[in-house]
Amino acid sequence: MIYDLIIIGAGPAGITASVYAARKKIDFLVISKDIGGQAALSGDVENYTGYQFITGSDLALKFQEHMNSFGIKVNMPERTRGLRLEGNNLIRIITDRDSYLSRSVIIATGKRPHRLDVEGEEAFRNKGVTYCATCDGPIFKTKRVAVIGGGNSGLDAALQMLKISPMVYIINATSQLTGDAVMIERLKQSPNVEIWNNSQVRRVYGDVFVKGIEVEREGKLYPIDVEGVFVEIGLIPNSEFADILTRNEQEEIIVDCYNKTNLEGIFAAGDVTNVPEKQIIVACGEGAKACLSASRYLSTHKF
């Protein structure tokens, strides 16, 4: 069987693309490891037009409901491993459980959290070290925690934890926090936060679970007793499988303003691309654009 379109990823970009594809009655399939992507993991969303306030998981549910209303089929959880060009302008998509042929592809696989790459991080993964404050945060109620990273996602995690944790340490590599002023202001009003600037985590230690971290500041090492370590030091694109495409130094897939990649019939949208702003609303718009471009491609090419 040959599909007209395969959408890889079901975050804001992939879901929006799928809604457009369903409305255009394109014969398509969605393949994804999850639904909602990073949006589902976001804390509070206050900048998605039409919602003055909604949680990331509720917004992701809304997206999912919208998708379900068209009866869109999502193969999930399924991870894409590779892309190959075949004859007659066809593209082969290889996943961890199958292989598919399609006339066009939209890659909307988003990003995943960056690792600290320090001793103890892997050993204590899910044993105190977490990459999803929204998911696992509540388990650390009444426990002291450290948030690694002073950008928006770090501050979001810290603000969330401040409500339920006796002490929150923010370990920030630069000389000052880089997140939004509104969030920094909210943090500064909290009595149970300690901000460590110019600081790097060197080690995570513990027994069965995390007991603390070792932090280096101005050449000196300090132990900090915490039971939770929330890693929020940025994201890397899920683009490894797309090694036939041109990517930038950050491994983001390079697209033009029509969401075209360097290969015919392959489009990309959202956080996995080099489009500058990584926002839910931007990803949705990019997903819509990518689907419209794919649709135009399908109607103007012979297969």
Binding site: D34, S57, A60, K127, C135, D136, P138, I139, K141, F209
Partner: protein
Amino acid sequence: MDRIVKIYTTPTCPYCIMVKQFLKDNNIDFENIDVSSDQLAAEEMMQKSGQMGVPVLDVNGEVIIGFDKEAIIRALGI
């Protein structure tokens, strides 16, 4: 087949929502334990699974960590 299915979750975790939806879609009765509001249950989950991530599924004592669809299908025999 009689089986007891418990699932340890937090309200904000998307994978928890997916597991619950998957169980509902397959008509599996389950007990949802919200570890964000029950500290004892959180400790119990940590003891059982040796880790602190949600969701954790307990099917007649067999513990499955995360939304591992295949492991869940195997454990439930569906």
